[in-house]
């Protein structure tokens, strides 16, 4: 239970690599903040600085308004779930969970009560006597969660905790983590490079790129109003279609009146439609179907249009065939505009 305040946090590694270049994030109490971005953008580095595992070379990190830069991981009262879980291989599940409590001098009967309580929440009760190597990947993941929860820390930190699980289990755990975090009300920072995980979990979503924050805010706001072409192509799957403005026109044939400075036009696959003939206002692109990808409830059409590849989502099974000529349309309010630096325009 704490607020976490990052002010212009920087990290320069010993070799001279600047991994984090001035990040400021204010996380309110009980919120779940998700850091998302491509590999190598500095997510883990930032998380490890919050944990105290890496020194902060610039800026400040504060819990509840108190700067913790100089405080080591042992005293920060945080819990972390590692990507490979980092369970103690020589200890039973029970001892893995009890370890942190013992180190803090919790009385024995209370340790026992809390470990059993937590084990029950996570359905681990029947596994307490096993060692980590006798568990499945999913069970190890739960033990790692349990080890974090049982301590009731100020802040939870997660570094890609679900990336070693299969898709189905990942979906389940995602829901479970969200519920647990809500019911425990512990401020959390969660690192992932899976945009679906990011969207579904986040109270605050932070999109990072090359050591900097590209955009920060409510996940749906970011989805609806991406601040840059980077965010537009990172959030949402399949990513937003981006086209040079000069190559597109409205369905009535007039050249699009783009906002001043806009050089790139974007629209999401789910906001586009395909018709045989243009109708009404909005964007209209002549396109040829190059590929169809049915995924069950929906299908993705890959089309060649304006010298680019454009993806369109259509509901259900698609009746379109390869090589078919059609028109890709999108309503004007669903169009996004970006300037020559990739920043949002208009």
């Amino acid at each position: 239970m704490a607020t976490v305040d990052l002010k212009d946090v920087r990290k320069v590694y010993a070799g001279g690599v600047e991994a984090v270049k001035g990040v400021s994030i204010a996380i309110p109490d009980k919120a779940l903040c998700v850091l998302v971005g491509p590999s190598g953008c500095g997510k883990s580095t930032l998380l490890r600085m919050i944990a105290g595992l890496e020194t902060i070379t610039g800026g400040t990190c504060a819990f509840d308004g108190k700067v913790v830069n100089a405080i080591g991981p042992t005293e920060r009262d945080i819990a972390m779930v590692f990507q490979n879980y980092a369970l103690y291989p020589h200890m039973k599940v029970y001892d893995n969970m009890a370890y942190g409590l013992r180190n803090r001098g919790t009385p024995k009967d209370e340790i026992e009560r809390r470990v059993h309580e937590t084990a029950k929440i996570l359905e681990l009760s029947h596994l307490l006597e096993r060692r980590p190597r006798e568990l499945s990947g999913g069970q190890r993941q739960r033990v790692a969660m349990g080890r974090a929860i049982v301590r009731n820390p100020k802040v939870f930190l997660f570094d890609e905790p679900l990336s070693n699980l299969d898709a189905k289990l990942r979906g389940q755990m995602r829901v479970e983590i969200k519920n647990l975090q809500r019911s425990l009300g512990v401020t959390s920072v969660y690192v992932t490079h899976d945009q679906l995980e990011a969207m579904t979990l986040a109270d605050i979503l932070v999109v990072m790129n090359a050591g900097q924050v590209e955009q920060l805010g409510n996940p749906l706001d970011i989805y609806e109003k991406p601040a840059s072409t980077f965010v537009a192509s990172f959030i949402g799957a399949p990513p937003m279609n981006l086209l040079p403005v000069t190559d597109v026109k409205f369905s009535d044939g007039t050249v699009i009146s783009a906002p001043a400075q806009a050089t790139t036009l974007g629209f999401r696959p789910e906001d586009a439609d395909v018709t045989q003939r243009s109708s009404g206002d909005g964007l209209a692109l002549d396109a040829t179907v190059e590929g169809v990808e049915p995924v069950g409830a929906e299908s993705f059409l890959y089309c060649a249009a304006a010298g680019q590849r454009v993806v369109v989502r259509v509901a259900g099974r698609s009746s379109h065939e390869l090589g078919e000529k059609l028109t890709v349309t999108a309503r004007p309010e669903k169009l996004h505009w970006f300037d020559s630096n990739g920043k949002r325009a208009g």
Binding site: P73, T74, M80, N84, A86, Y88, N103, R131, R133
Partner: protein, 294 residues
Amino acid sequence: MTPRVVFPNKILPYLLVAPQLAITLVFFYWPASQALYQSMLREDPFGLKSQFVWFDNFKKVLSDPNYINSIEVTAIFSISTAMLSMVAALILAVMADKVVRSRNLYRTLLIWPYAVAPAIAGMLWLFLFNPSIGSLAYALRWMGIAWDPLLKGDQAMVLVVMAAAWKQISYNFLFFVAGLQAIPKALIEAAAIDGARELKRFWTIVFPLLAPTTFFLLVVNTVYAFFDTFGIIHAVTGGGPGKATETLVYKVYNDGFVNLILGDSAAQSVILMVIVIALTAVQFRYVERKVHYG
């Protein structure tokens, strides 16, 4: 579980292990069986004829107070040497693990003593602690310690233990460094976040995870202290003063090659063989149970 490898060729596998087997047969089993045979012979003083006496040599050896003394000496010597060299190596390895800059230089320097031959290592310590010319002996006397390993048995023991341990530290160090590196860093970090301070982390995480290495070194060091320290003892004390540093191996040599009582000496080496086999078996049976391999 790794799957069992099956070779399609029936003869080739045996052919491939044949050189190793041949070496073991010629250099281990053959001499061992010779020792076994000789331990039941008694030669006349001129070495002209020998007589088969069954276990008489063993009876004689085991009732010899000098032999009992030698067992005690060996026990003290082996335990002290193994302990000292392992503890020192572990401390050095843990510290070397923390060094960030020029760590390879530190490691290289710490591995060098292993390349020194036992007799030379012994001479080194002999010179340093020689009562009349040794510089460290001078320092000890200056501190008010009556240092004279040539007359005082316990001081002679300290000297050979130090020399023998010093020689083995490098070897142990190498394995401990490798063992420490094999411990995932995330475990240490997780323990730190779990509120364990450095010393606590060492005893609750690092040390238990090093157990396979420690166990392996315990076996190796025991065997080393039993057998490989002959050169050091020979160079430093020659088993003296009196018989204060005469270990079992040294006594085998002394009785066999100096005093030429071949039957006794052979019987002793057979006993020695049995002791080491038993020790290793015990270590594997009881100590290894407490070891977790990953």
